[in-house]
């Protein structure tokens, strides 16, 4: 059967066909839909772990226990999981272990565009890279076979353009290997990495990567597609598609395994062509390896090292380098549209994070942020995020700044899922080493930015089962925080009162702001748009300062000061009442007023 599948859906299908027993991961664009789709197959086990390191340990545990384990994350998740990734390479496994890294060239939704192929080389682990959805599915099975044959973890590297593009896939049968129950291994020489054992393992994994390099020479996903002898292209991943599209005649060496490299195959290919180039997104990873083989090769002198490729990037770069005639260039339409208004993502109408940022903006304190929807608190007019680097960073950064004698009171802002991910150790540090940092946990009862995934605070699992809900208030108290309280997300006055008190303290404090995401299905049912009472509004603009997309400028001007009055877009307003709370003239209706109005 043939189906159109996104790369992520295809990987999920591949996991099912390959009989993955335990799959664990943490949501992160562009990888999130892999586990979401895998969880829909019958009789599978998949989970959201609190973070990527835990996910990799879980997958390793399954593989130690003799069952296929898989961990799934975005590229920066592998930074979090690097420690586990590295020891898994040292120990090897009893059954297949595959780790999916979804890299994000062009940073569509990431803080960097690191090229995780380097992790494969760093960890002496093979790396597979599909070029479309069919390969994304098939390479899951290939990766497990490779893992089991060579006793190694395997990195399956995807990129945004593989994850989020759809192409047709021929579905296969479930070919899960029959696994007999067997006792957990008692093999400390292999599985206990004390120095005395580790020194013996290191030569083993160095030999293993040499063996895999020999295997790569005949790996069917490394293939030469012969063409003209004048130009040879080595390429991988989605860049292969652009190479095929743009260079109609060139010879192509498509690498499905980008670490370790098949040196003999590359030498043979290089000899068969006059000019050799590498077309790869991001780092000159293959190019440098080929160069080290002593083979003349070009790559990043022609194609960009930053961002994502597309046919145009490849074609125009090739024209500039003289690889294609000038006539191959595709002209852009000759039209000037001027500077258009941007449309950056913003906090949604009714977002429960908005009041907190409105108050933080008022207090003018430095805010050390974190990764999630609430990072959008940086956008004017809220403008209340001043640093954001990675998940879990904000609390540590605030503590460090406070310890360095930063004259202002630092506030760290973190989401519920992010707090579980890596915020807890940082908050323990604030308590243990005593800094007057105020930590705000924005608890919207879901993992928001990646599209509503369950987390340890929601009481439900990825498989939609009820579970224990980790409660934040007792958890924070148990860490030793004396000043902690929970307030409702739309209660502007309570948030302001608590924060004004906390920023004066010289002890650690935590404010937990609880309000479910306005986009959750149950919350959507309660949306009631508010209205502006035009006779009361005098165009004071205060409600514009909360940056709500549902509040527009009316064509009607206030007679006295000639400023536009406010107008609420009923199609966008959720009725959160934040604007009504801050309006000094009571010119915005509350929901209760609306109901009374309807009744009369």
């Amino acid at each position: 059967m043939i189906k159109m599948l996104s790369g992520n859906e295809a990987v999920a299908r591949g996991m099912w066909e390959a009989g993955v027993t335990v799959a664990s991961g943490y949501p992160g664009t562009p990888s999130t839909e892999i586990l979401e789709n895998y969880a829909l197959f019958p009789n599978v086990y998949a989970e959201w772990a609190p973070n990527e390191k835990v996910a990799v340990d879980v997958a390793i545990g399954a593989a130690y226990a003799g069952r296929r384990g898989m961990a799934v994350m975005k590229h920066v998740g592998l930074n979090v999981a690097a420690d586990s990734f590295m020891y898994a390479s040292m120990t090897g496994l009893e059954a297949g272990l595959v780790i999916v890294t979804a890299d994000d060239p062009a940073m569509h939704s990431s803080q960097n565009e690191q090229d995780n192929r380097t992790f494969a080389k760093f960890g002496r682990v093979p790396c597979l890279e599909p070029s479309d959805s069919q390969e994304a599915k098939d390479m899951v099975g290939d990766a497990f076979e490779l893992s089991e044959r060579f006793d190694t973890p395997v990195l399956l590297r995807l990129t945004t353009r593989i994850c989020h593009s759809a192409s047709s896939v021929e579905l296969g049968e479930r070919t899960a290997p029959a696994v007999e129950p067997k006792p957990f291994p008692r093999n400390p020489a292999k599985y206990v990495m004390v120095p005395g054992n580790a020194v013996k393992r290191h030569p083993v994994i160095e030999q293993r990567i040499r063996d895999i390099a020999a295997f790569a020479e005949t790996f069917p996903n490394n293939r030469i597609e012969p063409g003209s002898r004048s130009l040879g292209i080595i390429t991988c991943g989605v860049a292969y598609q652009y190479a095929r599209e743009v260079f109609l005649k060139a010879s192509i060496l498509r690498l499905g395994m980008t670490w370790p490299l098949p040196e003999k195959m590359i030498r043979k290919f290089a000899k068969s062509v006059k000019r050799l180039i590498v077309i790869e997104e991001l780092d000159p990873f293959i190019e440098e390896a080929v160069y080290r083989m002593g083979i003349p090769v070009e790559g990043k002198n022609i194609f960009p090292i930053t961002g994502e490729f597309d046919p145009r990037v490849v074609r125009e770069s090739a024209v500039r380098a003289g690889l294609l005639p000038a006539s191959a260039s595709v002209p852009l339409p000759d039209v000037e549209v001027g500077t258009l208004p941007g449309r950056p993502p913003v906090l949604c109408p009714g977002c429960p994070h908005r009041p907190t940022f409105y108050i933080l903006n008022k207090l003018k304190v430095p805010v050390n942020g974190d990764i999630g929807c609430y990072t959008l608190g940086l956008i004017p007019p809220l403008s209340a995020i001043h640093t954001c680097g990675c998940m879990g960073a904000g609390i540590g950064v605030a503590h460090g700044a406070a310890k360095a004698g930063s004259p202002e009171h630092h506030v760290a802002v973190i989401g519920d899922s992010t707090f579980f991910h890596s915020g807890i150790p940082a908050l323990i540090n604030v308590v243990y080493n005593r800094s007057p940092v105020t930590t705000i946990i924005l608890d919207n009862r879901i993992t928001g930015m990646t599209g509503h995934q369950e987390n340890p605070g929601t009481g439900r699992t990825l498989l939609r089962q009820e579970t224990v809900r980790v409660e934040l208030l007792p958890l924070v108290r148990a860490l030793g925080i004396q000043h902690v309280q929970s307030v409702a997300g739309y209660d502007v006055k309570a948030i302001e009162k608590a924060l004004r008190e906390y920023v004066k303290l010289d002890e650690p404090s935590v404010l937990i702001v609880v309000e479910p995401c306005a986009l959750l299905p149950d919350v959507r049912k309660r949306w009631i748009p508010l209205d502006v009472l035009a006779d009361k509004c005098n165009g004071c603009t205060l409600c514009f300062r909360i940056g709500c997309p549902a509040i527009l400028k009316s064509e009607e001007l206030d007679e006295k000061n000639q400023r536009p009055k406010a107008l609420i877009d009923a199609g966008l307003c959720t009725g959160c009442e934040v604007c009504a709370e801050i309006c000094p003239r009571e010119a915005i209706t509350f929901r209760s007023v609306e109901t009374e109005g309807d009744a009369s």
């Binding site: 598609q241 597309d310 339409p333 449309r343 993502p345």
Partner: protein, 204 residues
């Protein structure tokens, strides 16, 4: 009938561009093309710009369309239409929904939303094959603003036929089959009417 057709869809998160591109890619499959589709939607749930690339062809390699290579532009919103103008090839077909969704910077008065005149002038410099319709108005007359995307698909289907981009085998029934497979049972009739109303809007 063209060998390869590159469709570029653009709009704002929440406008139904993703359903529309899903329909388009599957209509292509049903019509016997090889197809690929790519979503570019970093954080679209938060009201950002969304684009989707759909390619039909005998053989399709790249999932992305390079700038200057879109044969068909389906724009769900006026500002996004202008933003995608340079992605079109000269003389391409454009279907522009005359919907305005103001970004925050326009609401706050820092930036100005382009005028209809500027929009029409800019498009006229790139192609004479532009159709402007008001999908929301048509959808509203059917009683549900949400089917504006299916109205647009209806118009697009008729424009592709009259422009000769597709063969006679690609009948309205092929489109309707793909659409009705993707909407809840209770909305099938509404979506049929929306598609038909979109087709009829070509003559307006």
């Amino acid at each position: 009938m063209k060998e390869t057709i590159n469709f570029l869809l653009c709009g704002v998160g929440g406008q139904g561009t993703i359903l529309a591109s899903d329909v388009l890619v599957n209509v292509g499959l049903a019509a016997g093309y090889q197809t690929k589709q790519a979503e570019v939607h970093g954080m679209s749930q938060r009201g950002g710009s969304v684009t989707s690339h759909v390619r039909w062809g005998k053989v399709v390699y790249s999932p992305l369309i390079g700038a200057g290579e879109a044969d068909v532009l389906l724009a769900f919103e006026k500002l996004e239409a202008l933003r995608s103008l340079k992605a079109m090839s000269s003389g391409a077909l454009a279907l522009v929904n005359m919907k305005v969704i103001e970004p925050l910077t326009v609401i706050s008065g820092e930036e100005t939303y382009p005028s209809d005149e500027a929009l029409r002038q800019a498009f006229a410099q790139v192609t004479s094959h532009v159709k402007y319709i008001n999908g929301e108005e048509i959808a509203g007359s059917l009683g549900n603003l949400k089917v504006a995307n299916v109205v647009l698909l209806g118009t697009l289907s008729a424009l592709l036929e009259s422009g000769g981009q597709v063969g006679a085998g690609l009948t309205p029934e092929v489109w309707l089959k793909v659409i009705t497979e993707r909407v809840p049972a209770k909305h099938i009739e509404l979506n049929r009417r929306a598609f038909q109303a979109g087709r009829e809007a070509v003559g307006n």
